[in-house]
């Protein structure tokens, strides 16, 4: 049962961590930590909601703990070999998401990067459905404004 869960969600959680830390090795460590915590507390875990949401919540806390211990690494600080070449074109949008206020960035990441439903986002962030929708909408608005500003600056 546990093996199934690990195999099913490992990549997804890894990608979620990767969006937060920008470094593949760090993301792997955080993902491993997430599953270790899950395994350690598996006996106490009562499947009230989705297991996936529970994993995301652990991963979110792991990423938050990581940021508490260390200042965030932005793309310019990441060594060249660590950033994936296939997504280099999208690096700007990722940087912009990371520069959003934490609660908005988190909601946008879950909605667009992890392709999650609003009710799952609400469950992971422990907020109401309406607030989850608002955060995603507000996040996209801000990103759009940032893009507009960036284009404007480029044109000028």
């Amino acid at each position: 049962m546990l093996e199934k869960i690990i195999r099913k969600y490992y990549d997804e959680i890894f990608r979620y961590c990767y969006h937060h830390v920008e470094s593949r090795s760090l993301a792997e460590d955080l993902c491993q930590d997430t599953f270790l915590s899950f395994i350690e507390h598996y006996d106490e875990y009562h499947p009230i909601g989705k297991t996936k949401n529970y994993l995301y919540t652990i991963a979110k806390n792991k990423c938050r703990d990581y940021y508490k211990k260390k200042a965030p690494i932005f793309m310019e600080n990441v060594p060249e070999q660590e950033s994936d070449k296939c997504i280099e074109e999208s690096v700007i949008i990722k940087q912009m998401v990371m520069s959003l206020p934490e609660e908005l960035g988190e909601a946008v990441m879950l909605r667009y990067f992890q392709n999650m439903q609003y009710k799952d986002i609400a469950a992971i962030l422990n907020i109401k459905l309406s607030l989850a929708k608002y955060r995603v909408k507000r996040g996209v608005e801000l990103l759009s404004a940032m893009e507009g500003g960036a284009h404007g600056t480029t044109k000028n």
Binding site: E3, D11, I39, I93, A145
Partner: protein, 272 residues
Amino acid sequence: MGQRKTEKRLKQYAAACRKIVPENRESQIQELLRVEKSLQTKAIAMDSVSYTRGTLWDFILEQIGYLGKYCFIWQIAWIVFFCYMMRHGVTDLFGENNGNAVLTAVSLMPPLLILLTVEEVTKVYQRSMLEIEYATKYSLRSAVMIRMLVLCVMHSLILVICILCQHSGIEANMGRILVYGFTPMTVITALLFKLMQHWQGQLLRSASAGLYVLTAGLIMVGSTERFNWYQPAYLKVWCIVCVIGIASGVRQFVRLNGKLASYEMIVQCGSD
């Protein structure tokens, strides 16, 4: 329009990211499964340990077993001595002219019962025993409290049974005898709780012996014709002293409990 464009870019980025997978995926998963297996083995081992550790009742029985055997020898000796005193020896000890001899003996004997066994309680939190006590499932306080409870029940039973058995040979009524028997016992217990907060081992033994000598002296003086504390008119005073003894005993017990709790916390913090 701008927002749709942003959403599109976000989705494009997400699609690109889906190609990213952890480099050592399989080995990492195998590592997690190994951890899970070892945790499972540990949990099974812990379950069997907790099973063999037993219930609270087992713990109480164990604590009775740990009480020094000399305790029981003292208690038997005490019963024999009490019975002998009541039947034959009271007048030999106090003189035939002392009309309160039996009642004085009833007051003098019960505190002795506690003093003979007090060390069995303090032994639990002596420095040399701490390492063993902290390795057990139940806390230091639990062990102390269980021992106190066991000894308290045993002493009270012994005292009541002895007094009931000797009642026919004593002129005073049953209630009075119980008051004369239990009052010094409660006062001594309260004072002992106080002493236990400060001393252990040899120091406590000496202090409690001194305490008993003082109490015995006080009771002996009180039983003389000059004071005659055992006349029925003073029964109310005995009752009041008994109530005060119980109240201060409870107060000192709570303090002792608090002191043990802080002691426990300090040792735990030290070990962390």
